[in-house]
Subunit: 151 residues, 2 copies
DNA sequence: TTTTATACTTGCAAATTGCAAGTGCAAATA
DNA sequence: TATTTGCACTTGCAATTTGCAAGTATAAAA
């Protein structure tokens, strides 16, 4: 698992301690903007992440509290869901999306682009609300599974 | 020099094509928030970048049009200044700063933190204006040097 | 029990980072 | 003019990370 070392007291540096690589934020993106949640989902993204890198980054994100793993129906299937910590990254991801879009790289549907231009904060809030609800459901589910396994 | 390859049409991925490493955005940070502009300035930051990595990243940032190099008085001395392209990264840097600060990593003076909380957009605009003015001065200067060398 | 789907794990080569010594260039000084 | 000093890189090499692709473990269905 990618080792996290705090390089300085600078908040930007701190952010890059976790996310200063080509892949970690792409996983957050896939969850936030592409509704992906399984290992296979992330593997199928256009950037073609390698399985060992994906595993490594998911482990880091989970260990640092940005995502949580939960069972999904299907053989050996699992999903990954943002925690509150992970949800706080949405604004960074959106800011990058706006930056890239300003360079005429905009693979997202036109409506999202228009919404972001119209009211960026509103979009961020809506996404945060959506994933907060999902996180609560998943957390409850995990807690219930935990109780069951104790019987 | 770090090779830039466009991995997909996603704007976030596009941003990470340039900045998905531990160092490139730290250079932008140093220019924007620490008023640094020479090789030696960047070398002295708390994160201790290696000279070969710094050179590599400065070359990339220059080649991609985010910064421009200009002469500074002193022996073999040069400075680096944001271009309009580079200035457009300020909002990403600031969003990361806010994220890091929300995790209680805040090595900046309290006033900046307060200003950002009060009116993030205003701070971003002020910084953009400041560096736009500097870029214009530098560009004019470079153009004049260019004219001189043709005589 | 066997097959299938999923999530990883592993071995290895290529690429990148980090350390620290070295080199080249420009300006100041003797 | 020659030498010294300051600055911006460059270089050699070891350590680490990434990427490729085959392999393995687990869970559920047949």
């Amino acid at each position: 698992m990618k080792e996290i070392r705090k390089r300085s007291e600078c908040p930007i540096s701190y952010c890059l301690d976790f996310f200063g690589d080509k892949w970690a934020l792409l996983i957050i993106r896939d969850i936030v903007l592409n509704d992906k949640y399984t290992f296979g989902d992330f593997l199928s993204s256009d950037e073609s992440i390698a399985t060992n890198i994906l595993t490594d980054r998911l482990k880091m994100l989970e260990a640092e509290g940005f995502i949580v793993k939960y069972p999904v129906p299907g053989k050996a299937r699992v999903g990954y869901c943002l925690t509150e910590e992970g949800i706080s990254l949405i604004s960074v991801v959106i800011e990058m999306a706006l930056w890239g879009a300003s360079k005429n790289v905009n693979g997202y549907r036109k409506e999202l682009g228009a919404e972001l231009k119209k009211d960026k904060s509103k979009v961020i809030k809506q996404l945060a609300t959506k994933f907060t609800k999902k996180y609560r459901r998943v957390k409850n589910n995990l807690e219930q599974l935990d109780e069951k396994s104790k019987k």
